[in-house]
């Protein structure tokens, strides 16, 4: 009797446990709540953002929600189709589509859509209430890019303000720059020795900012060589760069009042091939025994070959580039190097044209603002003040 009781009891217990656990496997999880659907901000009008509160069963020890499915329909009672799925623990989804009308995944702007979110376990699911209607529409201004906009406008105003100050005759001070100060000496040296000057514009195209800066520098240097009656050789590796360089040098000679001394054959096109170009330039350096070499513009792997040949040949070398990987070779093997931003500034320095100096001043003011922000920002971050960081956070 006792035995039967025990057996019955254990069966009961087993049943009880089954009761507890087994049907619960099949039970649907708690549905996600507070589902909201609204236009995705700052976009082109082809997406809606859906957010929800996680299901009560989303979490490690609970009835394991594994994922959420996001469903969409044209009407609250219509057929809902699955638009996407995110793993458990996520509570947002951007329902996006193509912007081309022909695309089958085209997303209609300005059309009412209804959403619901499905919490899924391995073998069951439950659905939220229907949210909506929501419409997608495109914005005319990207709010996330506001910091960039403020930066752009402020900087443009600063440049224009400094330029107008310069036009009114305000004198600007700029500190001496070793590489620039050396230019005059280098030209003087070439004149004394009666040897030519070599000017390399780099491998950039005529549209690269570094090449454009280099053109302006070439113009100033050409003017000085005209005054000193020194020969300047400009071998180019791009036909367009060459023709611009010819005009630039010609203008420099004109400025110096010596248009008669300009020789077009000294500014010539060699080849577009990187290493063939370098080999030819090396040949010129050794043959012509150039007293001074300028390497200003975009440079790549050839930088060190040029600098080595010039160094061994004993030329004075002044270099400058914004290619960070090449600056080290120039610093180690040439006499003066214009580092990154200094190259862009050099054109303003050499010409001392008030307009360019004005732009340089604006750049400095911007730099001062950046430095102050850095200092304040680091302090703010040290005291866990997050607002400062937000000023610089750009959303793409």
């Amino acid at each position: 009797m006792k035995k039967t009781k025990a057996v019955l009891f254990s069966i009961l217990i087993i049943l009880f446990f089954f009761n507890l656990s087994f049907p619960q496997e099949n039970l649907s999880p708690l549905p996600p709540t507070e589902v909201r659907a609204s236009d995705t901000p700052n976009d082109n009008g082809h997406s809606i953002t859906v957010t929800w509160k996680l299901s009560g069963d989303d979490g490690a020890d609970k009835k394991n929600v594994v994922a959420y499915e996001i469903l969409r329909s044209d009407s609250p009672t219509g057929e809902f189709i699955v638009r996407g799925m995110v793993p458990a623990g996520n509570n947002t989804y951007q329902d996006r589509g193509a912007k081309e009308k022909e695309d089958k995944n085209y997303f209609h702007p300005h059309k009412d859509f209804y959403y619901k979110v499905r919490a899924k376990t391995l073998n069951s699911y439950s659905e939220s209430e229907v949210a909506g209607p929501a419409q997608a529409y495109g914005e005319w201004f990207h709010l996330g890019k506001l910091p960039v906009f403020v930066g752009t406008v402020t900087f443009t105003i600063m440049v224009l303000a400094f330029i107008s100050l310069a036009r009114k005759g305000k004198e600007f001070y700029v500190r001496p720059l070793a590489g620039i100060d050396a230019v005059d000496d280098a030209i003087g040296r070439a004149t004394e020795m009666g040897r030519p000057i070599l000017y390399i514009l780099g491998l950039g195209s005529a549209a690269d900012i570094a090449t454009i800066a280099s053109f302006t520098i070439l113009n100033r240097i050409a003017k000085k060589t005209a005054e000193h009656k020194t020969k300047i050789i400009v071998p180019c590796n791009d036909p367009i760069v060459m023709s611009v360089a010819q005009e630039t040098v010609k203008a420099g000679y004109l400025d110096a009042g010596r248009p008669d001394m300009y020789k077009e054959e000294n500014i010539f096109y060699l080849t577009s091939m990187q290493f063939a170009y370098v080999a030819a330039v090396n040949g010129i350096m050794l043959r012509e025994q150039t007293a001074t070499n300028f390497y200003l513009g975009k440079f790549y792997a050839e930088s060190l070959i040029l600098a080595e040949t010039g160094s061994v040949a004993g030329s004075i070398q002044i270099s400058g580039t914004d290619e960070i990987a090449q600056i080290p070779f120039f610093v180690a093997a040439t006499d003066f190097t214009l580092i990154g931003e200094e190259l862009y500034a050099a054109s303003a320095y050499l010409g001392r044209e008030p307009l360019l100096l004005g732009a340089l001043k604006a750049q400095d003011l911007a730099k001062a603002i950046v430095m102050i922000s850095l200092a304040l920002g680091a302090l703010a971050a040290s005291f866990h003040l997050g607002f400062f960081l937000k000023l610089f956070t750009v959303q793409m």
Partner: protein, 205 residues
């Protein structure tokens, strides 16, 4: 076919290397071949990967405003005719404008604001000395580096000291860059040597 190819590749490699000893006809041959082949390669690649998908396909799809690209492209080719070559300046102007316009925002954001944003870090990290020192170094380094690039004030006194510190930071970074570049070049040479000694001659496994 594969074996012939490997032999050709190996001989061309040796041909280029022969320049290290002295300029010679073998090298000149390889170099000329390289010049021709790379020009041909780029001609074909730009045709199939730029001209067709970006120009022809768009025109076929009825987006006729892409004709602007064709027109300015042809203007570029006019450089071959000296009399009307100046028209190619218009294409150059378009390219310069596009570059300037795109670079303006791209650099302002990715090189400017993002870097500033990343440098706004706490100067003191509780209980983590090395991170604290590291953060200090980053903030001071960035700050003094910018001081070095400041053109409006002479590098004198405390300001000059900071600029000096800045240039030291810059040089340290250039040194690191130098080391890494050397590493890359050596890797390339190792790759070629492995090809010659392994793939071609089979001396190493």
């Amino acid at each position: 076919m594969e074996t012939i190819g490997i032999w050709i590749a190996a001989l061309l490699t040796l041909g280029i290397f022969s320049f290290l000893y002295k300029d010679n006809p073998f090298y000149k041959f390889c170099e000329s071949l390289f010049v021709g082949i790379s020009a041909g390669y780029w001609f074909v690649t730009t045709f199939w990967q730029v001209f067709m998908p970006k120009l022809a396909d768009n025109l076929i799809a009825g987006r006729f405003y892409y004709m602007i690209g064709a027109i300015f492209g042809v203007l570029m080719l006019l450089r071959l005719f000296p009399k009307i070559g100046w028209l190619s300046r218009w294409s150059l102007a378009l390219v310069v404008g596009t570059t300037a316009g795109l670079y303006f925002t791209r650099y302002l954001v990715s090189n400017g604001m993002v870097q500033v944003q990343n440098t706004i870090i706490p100067l003191y990290v509780k209980g983590n000395l090395s991170q604290t020192i590291g953060n200090l170094v980053i903030v001071i380094g960035t700050f003094s580096g910018l001081i070095y690039f400041f053109f409006s004030k002479e590098h004198k006194g405390a300001f000059g000291g900071l600029a000096k510190l800045g240039i030291w930071f810059l040089m340290l970074s250039f040194g690191a860059s130098f080391g890494y570049t050397v590493m890359s070049r050596m890797s390339l040479l190792i790759g070629r040597m492995d090809y010659l000694l392994g793939t071609w001659l089979g001396l190493i496994r």
